[in-house]
């Protein structure tokens, strides 16, 4: 390659690099010395970049540098984002887990509120639920079942490991506590277990 051509290739390279648009042969020719072998220089440049992270791409006679296609993945930075599930999604997921296969209408019936379409989408996107068979009833509604990622995420070996209703009751999760009891400030009023404590209470009252 001649000295002159090497210099022209440098200009060509810089031109292609800096241009916002792919350049046509005509445009390139206008900017290079007359009678330059633009085609030959482009081929030479393309060959130079052949195995690199950047390729010189011919797009229907217009030329531009582009990052190599096989590097798309490698170039992406993966970031983890922690997210909480909405209450609606949480409950919907619980119902699907306990009642599967279950139709959307049934879910709504159990929750007592309509289900937003987005709720099932979020759960499906997380890989926790998937559509099951259609129910052989009028309208053939779609049912929903849990997917593999559900067991993974919640650390369960199988759906059989999900605590049953009785166990939930035993663990207090289904407790039917009166509303007045759940008020934190009044809680102590019910906690009379021994005499000492109640006497103390009365002494306090006397101080008042």
């Amino acid at each position: 390659m001649t000295q002159v051509q090497t210099e022209d290739i440098r200009v060509l390279e810089a031109m292609l690099f800096a241009s916002a648009e792919p350049l046509s042969l005509t445009t390139i020719r206008e900017r290079l010395p007359a009678n330059s072998d633009v085609g030959g220089m482009l081929m030479a440049l393309q060959k130079t970049y052949d195995k690199r992270g950047v390729h010189l791409v011919d797009m229907d006679g217009e030329w531009a540098f582009r990052t190599a296609q096989d590097l798309g993945e490698a170039l992406q930075l993966k970031k983890e984002v922690q997210r909480k599930l909405s209450r609606a999604a949480m409950e919907t997921l619980a119902i699907i887990a306990y009642h599967q296969p279950v139709t959307r209408a049934e879910i709504e019936n159990i929750r007592g509120v309509a289900t937003h379409k987005g709720t099932l989408d979020v759960l499906m996107e997380a890989g926790w639920i998937k559509p099951g068979r259609r129910r052989e009833t009028p309208g053939r509604p779609l049912t929903w079942v849990t997917a593999t990622a559900f067991l993974d995420h919640f650390g369960l070996e199988s759906m059989m490991d999900l605590p049953g209703l009785d166990e939930l009751k035993a663990s207090g999760l289904l407790d039917r506590r009166p509303a007045i009891e759940t008020l934190p400030s009044t809680g102590e009023l019910f906690a009379v277990e021994d005499d000492d404590e109640s006497e103390e209470f009365l002494r306090e009252e006397e101080v008042e």
Binding site: A14, R83, F154
Partner: protein, 275 residues
């Protein structure tokens, strides 16, 4: 370094009229200057000598003429121009009358050197700015990638949801359903009626002093040996409410010495005679 020679009264290189013309010319372009040092620098350049060999005295004179001219033209100059004028007037007097003035005051040579340094430093910076902007510049001579693809970030969502959250959610649904037919539990409370009955009865038994009974704490009207906290609190509340109601009716008087002090009641028989 400035030689002694420059501090002596130089034979004026320029005539007084030239100085005034110069000052006028400078003033016409006053907006084009960046402060008094910049003006002095222009004046110094007009002397067409190296800054290290500049006649400080002549410079001072030119500057004073410049200020005089500005005042004659009733131009409003920024404060720093006047501060510089005062400084130069002082320097001029020190240059012309060496030996006078305080020992503590900086001598004329030091002051002149300082001014010269100030001028040279600004000149250097003005030149540096010129040099800087004659460098190849991005977007003019150097170019970045014209069509950058940009660096993408792929976000992986990690759900912060535990098995407990799931079970709790299911529990909540079950509970909501059960609440449809929820019955209120029975609470053991002291009713207003019971408290009224008890207090009226006890007030009647209190020892009398004239038209009043003796002062008695609210606590004394409550049933003794209460074990149930809720019962105790409702009893106190009812007793106080009844006390207030009786006070409204004029049947008792209530007093409390201060916040959180015991509440006292006494029966009042004032109204009884009239009825």
């Amino acid at each position: 370094m400035i030689g002694q020679a420059q501090f002596e009264e130089d034979p004026p290189r320029v005539s007084a009229s030239e100085i005034v013309d110069d000052a006028e010319a400078l003033l016409l372009d006053i907006d084009g200057y960046e402060g008094p040092i910049d003006v002095l620098l222009v004046m110094a350049r007009n002397q067409k000598v190296d800054l290290t060999k500049i006649s400080i005295l002549q410079l001072a004179r030119q500057y004073m003429a410049f200020i005089d001219q500005a005042q004659a033209m009733e131009l409003e100059l920024a404060a720093e121009y006047l501060v510089m004028a005062a400084w130069l007037a002082y320097l001029k007097s020190r240059l012309l009358l060496p030996g006078e003035g305080d020992e503590d005051e900086p001598d004329a040579e030091t002051m002149a050197e300082a001014l010269q340094f100030q001028l040279r430093r600004l000149e250097a910076m003005q030149k540096a700015a010129e040099d800087l902007f004659s460098l190849p510049q991005l977007g003019q001579d150097i170019f970045p990638r014209g069509a950058p693809e940009g660096l993408r970030t792929a976000t992986d969502t990690v759900w912060d949801v535990s098995l407990y959250d799931l079970l709790k959610a299911y529990g909540d649904i079950q509970r909501r359903k059960d609440n449809d037919h929820y019955e209120l539990p029975q609470f053991n409370l002291v009713s207003m009626e019971a408290a009224m009955e008890r207090m009226t009865r006890m007030l009647g038994k209190l020892p009398r002093k004239g038209i009043h009974s003796v002062w008695t704490t609210l606590q004394s009207f409550m049933p003794e040996q209460i074990k149930d906290r809720l019962y105790a609190r409702s009893s106190l509340a009812s007793a106080l409410t009844v006390g207030l109601e009786l006070a409204k009716q004029g049947k008792v008087e209530i007093k409390q010495d201060g916040l959180f002090r015991p509440v006292y009641l006494r029966a009042s028989y004032e109204g009884e005679g009239k009825t």
